[in-house]
């Protein structure tokens, strides 16, 4: 009897048998015998004409039957026959951001994808080419950024930059439709990139997991043609405006609060190259600190950023393609409660401090000071590494250890901490000591950070330490014999 070695991927068709005995004869006979005994193998080994498929290699010993007598190759009684699937693949042919070989610059797949754009009279191939050539920077990937990014990526903007420093929080999911529960705790820009890559593989995505500030704004923004400002605070809004004016970029602006949204297009050059008004023509100075609450404080109806962000994406596309009339010189307000829209005209002011008659601002300033508020409220957490925690344990230092994971995780592995799952932390705040150090841990450090922030904000704790890298780091560095999951 000869032996046939079945490759792993095909073993599910041979009752998980790796080695089969077959009678002697030729390869043709062997294949017949195999497909007779295991009919499901047939479509994987033979094509419709009954010939061995081109991507199936058959070896007798170490020789490819293509170099022997093909299917007529004799199979001796001690022969070892290997079925070897061809393993191959590659990247898609259309290079994102680079022109394909056709004169219009699109691959077959891209043409199919953008067909409903290309067939619109007055938009057509020319506008689609402008979208592909465009570079748009979206600042903030939250409520507004989600629809803006989804629609711009789907529309085929060739290069999209995303700036956000934040991580996905469960309170985001009510409106930030880029993200799902799997992304909670992950950097927004990373989660956004994954989602957008899956949506459109023919575009280029650049991510900046950072705070936009006076030090990095010009550098990040300079490589883009159009800026879409979806930020949620005044310091960053003035920063984006001023940087866009200084760099000569169009800034498509939107903002939302509770039931109301606003959209405009700032610093947009008309056919003669004259720039339209900017945010400082509308609001020369920020409101007094504390007068206008943020979405985090005042709330926002989840669908509102969907509406306003879609309008913002629309204006970005119009700015790039120059199809239609943009909101340059106009300011649009949508009131969701009474379904009223209003559009005001806005004009450039001579006393605009950045591009009026006598500009007093010639470079970026400290916008947090200017607005009298922080762009981001959070301060860093106190942390303890696994090694330091171990030192405390060895030295017998007094501290309380809290585990905020779920009970089933605790059952898999624990390091002797008191279990208070994240969702129940606030209700159990009285169980947490105030007069000694408290180390809080989870699997990797994300949930425990959240627990600490909540305890600090709601109950004023000051003695909480986050275990850096969570229980997994502790296992790696201190107790490698414990179960990892």
């Amino acid at each position: 009897m000869a032996t046939v070695i079945i490759p792993t991927p095909l073993r599910k068709f041979t009752n998980n048998t790796a080695r089969l005995e077959v009678g002697a004869g030729t390869i043709h006979d062997t294949v017949q015998e195999l497909t007779l005994n295991f009919p499901d193998l047939k479509k994987h080994l033979l094509d419709e004409g009954g010939n061995i498929r081109s991507y199936v290699n058959i070896f007798v010993g170490n020789d490819d039957i293509r170099n022997l007598q093909q299917e007529r190759t004799a199979v001796g009684k001690d022969a070892v026959i290997s079925i070897v699937p061809a393993i191959a693949g590659g990247s898609p042919d259309a290079e994102p951001g680079a022109a394909a070989s056709a004169p219009h610059g699109f691959s077959k797949e891209e043409l199919a994808r953008y067909n409903r754009h290309i067939i619109i009279p007055g938009f057509g191939m020319e506008s689609q080419q402008k979208l592909k050539a465009a570079k748009v920077l979206v600042i903030g990937s939250g409520g507004l950024g989600s629809p803006v990014l989804l629609y711009l990526a789907a529309a085929g903007i060739g290069t999209i930059g995303i700036v956000d420093f934040d991580v996905v929080d469960d309170s985001n999911l009510q409106r930030q439709v880029l993200f799902g529960v799997d992304e909670i705790g992950k950097p927004k820009v990373e989660a956004a990139r994954r989602r957008l890559e899956a949506l459109n593989p023919y575009i280029r995505l650049n991510i900046y997991n950072t705070h936009l500030n006076s030090q990095n704004a010009l550098d990040i923004m300079k490589d883009y043609d159009v800026i879409a400002d979806g930020t949620d605070n005044f310091p960053t809004r003035y920063l984006v405006n001023d940087a866009a004016v200084l760099l000569g970029k169009t800034n498509v602006y939107a903002s939302i609060f509770q039931f109301e949204g606003q959209v405009s297009v700032f610093n947009y050059p008309d056919e003669q190259g004259n720039r339209g008004p900017n945010y400082r023509d509308l609001y020369p100075t920020p409101p007094p600190p504390g007068l206008v609450p943020s979405c985090a404080e005042g709330g926002v109806l989840g669908v509102l950023p969907g509406i306003i962000g879609s309008l913002q994406a629309l204006e970005v596309i119009k700015v790039i393609t120059r199809v239609g009339d943009t909101l340059s010189g106009r300011f649009y307000i949508f009131d969701a409660l009474n379904f009223e829209s209003r559009t005001f005209n806005i004009r450039s002011r001579e006393d605009n401090p950045i591009n009026g008659k006598n500009p007093s601002i010639t470079g970026l300033i400290d916008y947090e000071q200017f607005c009298g508020m922080r762009a981001v409220e959070e301060k860093p957490l106190k942390e303890v590494t696994a090694k330091e925690l171990y030192d405390w344990q060895v030295r017998g230092e007094k501290f309380q250890l809290i585990d905020v994971r779920e009970p089933h995780e605790f059952d898999i592995v624990n390091i002797g901490a008191e279990l208070i799952p994240l969702a129940t932390v606030a209700a159990n705040a009285e169980k947490i000591d105030r007069d000694r150090k408290v180390v809080v841990h989870c699997k990797m450090g994300g949930r425990s950070a959240k627990a600490i922030r909540e305890l600090e904000e709601k109950f004023g704790f000051t003695n909480l330490y986050n275990l850096k890298g969570g229980i997994l780091a502790y296992i790696d560095e201190v107790q490698p014999e414990l179960t990892k999951y």
Binding site: I5, P7, T8, P9, L10, R11, K12, A18, H44, Y55, N57, F59, N62, D64, S82, V84, P85, A86, I87, A88, G89, G90, S91, P92, D93, E95, P96, G185, K186, R193, R194, E197, A198, P201, I207, C442, K443, M444, G445, G446, R447, S448, G470, L472
Partner: protein
């Protein structure tokens, strides 16, 4: 779900970065739990035997394939699949990948953008010969 040991993940990324701008390729070994969860314990780096443009294509020679099957047998592992890189392309299977794909195998794609930004995603063929994403258990975040 597929779990890739962090050290193995590093090896794969190292191969992808060292081979950039060409595509790298290799095999995944490990075990499969009863619930279908796959655990990748080691990889075998093999040559990209594609003749011509290796920046857009990879091919594994049949002899390397046979070595991989033997390697799995020697270590009492299961040959779980194949990894390869997509230099400057997202970690999404191409039509070339789909046409040549084998049933059962996990296809891990390492996307390397400008030789620095790395994304890993894994894909499995379904009954309709289409790829479905196989979730990679995340060691990076809670």
């Amino acid at each position: 779900m597929i779990i890739i040991e962090p050290s193995v993940r590093e090896l794969m990324i190292e191969d992808a970065v060292n081979t950039f701008p060409d595509e790298c390729c290799g095999f995944l070994f490990g075990r499969e739990e009863t619930d279908g969860t796959r655990i990748v314990l080691d990889i075998l780096v093999v040559d990209n035997s594609k003749e011509g443009d290796k920046t857009r294509r990879f091919e594994i020679s049949p002899l390397d394939y046979m070595t991989a099957e033997q390697h799995a047998l020697d270590h009492d592992w299961t040959l779980l699949g194949v990894y390869h890189s997509h230099p400057n392309h997202p970690a999404i299977p191409s039509e070339h990948d789909r046409k040549a794909a084998q049933p059962y195998f996990s296809y891990v794609i390492v996307s390397v953008l400008n030789n620095e930004i790395i994304t890993l995603r894994s894909w499995l063929l379904n009954e309709e010969q289409q790829f479905e994403e196989e979730k990679i258990a995340d060691y990076q975040f809670t």
